[in-house]
Amino acid sequence: MHNHVLQGFKKTVEQFPDKAAFCGENSVLTFRELDRAIDSVGTFILRQGVKKSPVVVYMEKSPEEVAAFFGIIRAGCYYVPIDAEMPQVRIHLILENVCAPLLICDASTAEKATELGFSGKIVEYADIVSGKLSGQEDLIDEKALQEVFDASIDTDPLYVVFTSGSTGVPKGVVGCHRAVNDYIDQLSEVLGFSSETVFGNQTPLYLDACFKELFPTMRYGATTYFVPKTLFMQPLKLVQYLNAHEINTICWVVSALTIISTFGTFKTEVPKYLHTIAFGSEVFPIKQFKLWRQALPNATFTNLYGPTEGTGMCCYYRVDRTFEEGEAIPIGRPFENTDIILLDEEDHEVTKESGEQGEICIRGTSLTLGYMNNPEKTSESFTRNPLQTHWPEWIYRTGDIGRYNERGELMFVSRKDFQIKHMGHRIELGEIEVNAQMIEGITGAACIYDKEKGKIVLFYSGDKEEADMKVILKDSLPRYMVPNVTRKLDRIPLTSNGKTDRVSLSAMLK
């Protein structure tokens, strides 16, 4: 049996040729159209002589971008998504890291693509699929595509997605067929996906969060709507959009869900088709969660937990009781075929019964392959399992601290380091500090997350004004990482052993 992520896709196409697969703001692709686009992109890449290589995708979020991803996979290569809104500096770091021979752009990014200093070939998506580059009759070489498919194995890479890195350089997580297939198996069972599922996607396509919609849509013949970004400031219109498209399943970050509940939207309009709601990446304020449950008493609510390094999500908790304000919703239990172990500081196992805290470590098929061209960071967090030393067995150390509650459910406690979740994004405060320190005239920088207000606060010393710091940092950091507050100090306070004194910095927040 072949364990390729496109294994069952041709069958889906036969079953639902004219059904909409992916719907964007400006275009829709049916399964037949998607299939043709994927094969066209795949054939084009093969003809370029590009094999088992990273291919960069620099496109606007759209059904066509999905076709480019899967076309790259079809050619036995792996896709590297970069976003039109990422700052140039960050894109450079990513391109430098992956050294790709080919970049696929679209009309909206074509001009910017030529300014990236990209050393490989740049090609526009529309030119590939329209036959402009190959001739209409010769768009697809089925035989060549089949050969690549037959030769693939399930530990071959599929994608490299980049996540924040504490040293200032983003880390590229490399994922493979086997882990994605396993993840989609487990997730689909827990959330009950089928051909009837209509997804409303909120998360960006340049991370692994969108796998929850992309892969099940391809596998089951479901439909995914890419909810326009601008609707996430218009709660009423957002709900109307969900209703207009009869969207029944959403997997959103908590801050996107609370945008609806905070403004009393449910008094006017309820997303009446929704029956499956999954959320994660952040703590759900119980007050807001209760509003959702009241509005949709028959829907299921599932908390998902998992780092990108564990391929999508690895734990879930289906809400089965009421929570009081101040209580936290558990992250529950691992998906089947995934094991979670808690390790204390001496690498001893923390048992479920003890109720003690330990670092959450993941074991199993769902592990990604490691970080792209980054052996140091890879060996720091992908390590041998200290509980089993007889043969090499790998675990991923998440850096998250967890414990089991008296019901035996896994609870998230805190972070071991300075990684935070802000507006649903995973951010290393260290990356912000490094970028601030690189600014001319800056002598010191330290970042603190003000949890109460949900704000990133940058303390710094040097000869720049507070307002200028934000403006300068916008050039090197993605929008969601730019500090909300900048505070100039004469010097950054240090502890007696010379480290940044975060305790006294936190005290300054008050």
Binding site: M233, Q234, P235, L236
Partner: protein, 76 residues
């Protein structure tokens, strides 16, 4: 109005709020900016912003936001 400009400057110091009229349409303020702006406004001016006020027209310029605050204050 000055208090409002101060809040806005906190979010994006490099924007000239006296002249900008496309804060939302020009993607200067994204949805998360708007959400934090609204919570600051609610705190500072003691007004309740509800779903029907959350439309781009009310946030495209500092003047539009100010008008919204005035309207909400009158309704109290």
């Amino acid at each position: 109005m000055n208090e409002l400009i101060e809040i806005l400057k906190e979010i994006h110091p490099d924007v000239d709020y006296a002249t900008a009229t496309n804060l939302v349409d020009g993607k200067i303020l994204d949805s998360f900016d708007i959400i934090s702006l609204v919570s600051e406004i609610a705190d500072k001016f003691d007004v309740v912003v509800s779903a029907e006020h959350m439309i781009p027209e009310n946030f495209n310029s500092a003047q539009a936001i100010w008008d919204l605050i005035q309207k909400l204050e009158d309704e109290e």
